[in-house]
């Protein structure tokens, strides 16, 4: 434990406040949007990243001074904000509440990839044009940039405050946030106000991006994801939708992180963010300062998932498809094709798990990759350290994933809709952080190598075709397992819970129990997929089951149709095979992917095969 001298304390305080200022700027934007549109805007991080790039272009390419740079950034981001409102929200307002949420995820995918295409994925150096001198102020050393960041944040916050307090438009914005319908009755064009809100939020985010670019001395396309999470955490800390709360939450998060790093080291930084995020969600969902406000009412039950008549896949098609899948290695022994489909089967298991938890039971999970990781590590460790036979370690790994994952998710059960998405996102990250930092068990970043290969009854399964069949067989067993549950009273109960929690409770459905059952059953299937993957790869580390896998899996489910098992498999095949088809388009692959998600949400929110 390092010693804290007064000077250290003061310096860390400055560090924490500076970074906290930027978190606050991001959080304010998210708060404005949440307040006015009741939407968690996943594309906000991308706006911030684009703001940083615009600023970088102005300063380093065009050699502009900071003043005009900030103006250009503000204008560009405002336009982008309006565009996001148009694409991601306006047209989807009458759709199920899940639609705009997913649309913003799609937009952020597309924007991130677009920037990567234009500016390459490499980080770009963004030297601060300010002098590097530091001034000692009463024992605290402050740099010019630190001061600038503080000044700009405070100015922005003050200007926003003045805008909201003293201008007609500001009043209209607040009025819309407080009571949309009453605001309309005062003659406020709430759609225009909503666009304005996105613009203001985007300007703040963009300015935050420029400053963080200078502060971190570089800009890079992937900076959006982390910023978005930090913004959410800060926002939740201060109370979702509250602007003063966002400022305080941002500063607090900056301080907590900085002192956390000061105590334990940099690798623990994100752990703090996510533990805070989950802790606040669970213990005090109104935020530390949101006591007076009630939690905003959830979207109307039954509208979170679109009503639809699912496409009934005839049995002969299912059986025909299965037969074709079994025979595939005889038709083509091309290992490339078989590997793609092996991956598809493994992804289909993840998708089945997500479709059970999210589609059937209505718990929007963005952390399902955590179950993969637990399953993979548990099975690998059992096989390596205890020498368990593969069959046993696979099953035990899946069981441990189900149990441990459900236990970790337990605190989320009291939350609903958008909050579940945020909390599970956090839980997925926490699992990843634990894997990273619990070196004694997981070997940290070095990962587990020489994991025993797949085998059955002692016979190793190492050829491509047998692995393919093994994966297919597991998928079939998992699907049968899930199908059987869906045919039992559990399927009915889960779906009832998804449609209307209140009515379900009134008929004796205890929500915690059935949410837990969904996570146990889904976690088992995901865990099995993860365990299989670990043995197939023979090496895993913390990056193997990356967080983006969760979102990919969720997209498969949305593509196929929520709760629709055939849809999950179709979605998995499509999204595993499509990127391979688009391989020649390498760079644009994920751009297309984001656009597809956006179009899907817009034109067929119930997915290809429809919600079951």
């Amino acid at each position: 434990m390092p010693e804290f001298t007064l000077r250290t304390l003061a310096d860390q305080l400055v560090n924490g406040l500076v970074i906290g200022n930027i978190y606050a700027l991001i959080a304010i934007g998210l708060a404005l949007i949440f307040g006015v549109a009741n939407l968690i805007n996943f594309a906000h991080g991308s706006v911030y990243m684009i703001g940083a790039y615009v600023g970088w272009v102005c300063v380093t390419w065009l050699g502009w001074p900071l003043g005009p740079t900030f103006i250009v950034v503000a204008v560009a981001c405002a336009a982008l904000g309006v565009l996001i409102e148009r694409l991601g929200l306006r047209r989807l307002q009458s759709e199920a509440r899940i639609a705009p949420l997913l649309a913003t995820i799609g937009i952020s995918f597309a924007l991130d990839q677009l920037v990567q295409l234009i500016f390459s994925p490499n980080p770009q150096s963004f030297p601060s044009p300010l002098p590097a001198t530091r001034v000692m102020l009463g024992g605290v050393s402050i740099g010019a940039l630190d001061a600038l960041i503080a000044v700009i944040t405070v100015t922005s916050a003050a200007m926003l405050f003045a805008f909201l307090r003293f201008t007609r438009l500001g009043w209209a914005l607040r009025a819309t946030a407080q009571d949309r319908e009453a605001a309309q009755q005062m003659g406020v064009d709430v759609n225009a106000i909503q666009a304005l809100t996105f613009a203001v939020a985007a300007v703040l985010g963009g300015i935050g991006g420029v400053m963080i670019g200078m502060y971190f001395t570089s800009v890079y396309p992937t900076m959006s994801y982390g910023a978005m999470l930090k913004g959410f955490a800060a926002n939740l800390l201060g109370g979702l939708g509250s602007v003063p709360g966002a400022v305080i939450g941002g500063l607090l998060l900056g301080l907590i992180e900085t002192f956390g790093v000061a105590l334990l080291g940099s690798t623990y930084r994100n752990l703090f963010t996510f533990v805070i995020l989950i802790g606040v969600l669970v213990l005090r969902p109104t935020g530390l300062f949101g006591a007076r406000r009630a939690m905003p009412p959830e979207p109307l039950t039954g509208t979170f998932v679109a009503n639809s008549r699912p496409v009934r896949v005839p049995r002969f098609v299912v059986i025909g498809g299965l037969v074709a899948a079994v025979l595939l290695p005889f038709i083509s022994s091309n290992p490339y094709l078989l590997q793609i489909f092996t991956n598809a089967w493994l992804f289909a298991m993840l998708a089945l798990s997500i479709t059970l938890v999210t589609g059937t039971a209505g718990q929007m999970s963005l952390g399902q990759a955590g179950f993969l990781a637990i399953g993979g590590y548990a099975s690998a460790l059992l096989a390596m350290r205890l020498g368990w036979p593969l069959e046993l370690s696979l099953l035990a790994g899946a069981a441990i994933a189900a149990a441990l994952g459900t236990l970790l998710t337990w605190p989320v059960f009291r939350l609903r809709s958008q909050y579940v998405a945020l909390a599970t996102l956090g839980i997925g990250e926490v699992i990843n952080q634990i894997i990273l930092n619990w070196e004694g068990l997981t070997n940290g970043v070095l990962g587990l190598s020489n994991i025993p290969p797949l085998s059955l009854f002692g016979l190793p399964i190492i050829e491509t075709s047998p692995i393919y069949w093994f994966a297919l067989a597991m998928l079939v067993v998992a699907a049968l397992f899930q199908w059987r549950l869906m045919q039992s009273h559990l399927g009915r109960t889960w779906r009832a819970m998804r449609e209307d929690e209140v009515a379900a409770r009134a008929f004796g459905v205890s929500l915690n129990r059935y949410k837990a059952l969904a996570f146990i059953a889904g976690g088992f299937i995901a865990g099995l997929s993860g365990a299989f993957t670990a043995h197939m790869y023979s090496y895993i580390n913390n990056e193997t089951f990356a967080a983006t896998t969760s979102i990919l899996g969720l997209t498969m489910v949305i593509l196929g149709g929520m709760g629709n098992m055939s849809g999950a498999v179709v979605g998995a095949i499509a999204l595993t095979a499509l990127p391979e088809l688009f391989r020649p388009l390498a760079d644009a692959r994920y751009l297309i992917y984001g656009v597809v998600l956006l179009l899907l949400v817009r034109f067929r929110p119930q997915g290809l095969l429809g919600t079951v």
Binding site: P2, T8, Q12, N15, V18, I19, Q116, S120, P121, N122, P123, S125, A132, R134, L145, Y215, F216, T217, S218, Y220, T258, G265, S266, T267, R269, N270, R309, V311, S332, N334, P335, Y336, L337, Q339, N343, L436, G444, V445, L446, G447, S449, N450, I462, T464, Y537, S538, Y539, N541, E543, T544, V570, I573, A574, A577, E580, R583, A586, D587, R589, L608
Partner: protein, 410 residues
Amino acid sequence: MNRFFNRCASVRRSKLNLLSVFAALAMAVSACAVQPPPAAKLPDQAAPAQPAASTEPIYIGVSGPLTGPNARYGVQWKKGFDLALDAINGKGGVRGRKLEYIFEDSQSDPKQSVVVAQKFVADPRIVIELGDFSSPASMAASPIYQRAGLVQFGFTNSHPDFTKGGDYMWSNSATQADLSPALAEFAHNTLGLNRLAVFYLNTDWGKATYDLFQKHAQKIGAEIVAAEAYLPDEKDFRSALTRVRDAQPDGIVLISYQADGAQIVQQLATTDLKVPIVGASSLHSPDFLRLGGAAVEGVYIRGQFSPEDPRPTVQAFVQAYRAKYNEEPDFFAAHAYDTMNIVAALIEIAGPDRKAIRDAFTKIKDVPSVIYGKVTFNPETRRVANPQFVDLIVKDGKFVTWDGSQKAGR
């Protein structure tokens, strides 16, 4: 009622669409799978190179990141490969045939690297595979290459377990066992630094390097007063720098990659800690200079080659690289260049035969190398023995060989 019929109609339509999309998809994937890339006809499966095909190029598979967070390394690879191939093919290729490579973008993601591996092992034209970039991606694909008997030349894979994956796994990456002690000796013995603060990238590479570094530093009598691990996506080092400052080091060691290394140095410049900085060879890249700007001036690097090295191998590489790309070569490009030359040497001995190429690793001796001087593989570790090091310093925005003067001159 109308609405109802419309709905029925739309459902039926969508089902049709779905089936046709699905069918098209399956066909397209399989078409992709069996169709060779342009410019080549697919020879019979598993048949060895036919004399008739002897004018065809010999193909090398490369699995690496061209998109995603590690894309910049793949781009550097390409530059190194192309440069080496210019020379090799300019001289008529190997055994009278041109060498070509097929680069598949894996994003350095294990899910994709295994697919790429299957694609390569199934393509009989591929005689050796290079990559992947990160250890999770490489090692997940290893079983496939091992099984198929195709050499996986993981030339950046310093993970100690990589070459233990099988006798088809080879690497010319300097291992931590070589790199770490050299770095420690440079900092302590050469530069005379006693109280070291270390930043290391918390990946398999950085962690393993640090562990050995720490051991060796202790052995030679240097004290490590602070060790800061950080994740690849870490950008905010200020809190950690404050910690380091409080530890009062007389030198800072960076076990970093270019981007994060540059950031640490830049953020360090905004603090009042002014001590010499020593970096690992991975920092030897124009990216480090570009990203670090003025702040990296005076940073010491124990590199593996110097652009000023008078050796003809080095000069040929550096000159050609400058001419072709109008920039300074970096460690990754040099490494890729070396690797392609090794591959050429292997094929020269073994011919376009997968197994023979594996066996050739023990036969090649003293292949000229930018990084190692001369490369000979150790059949036990399947790695290169005794890499050489050269001490560099950043001066006027360039890497120059450190002449031993201006010690600790920052």
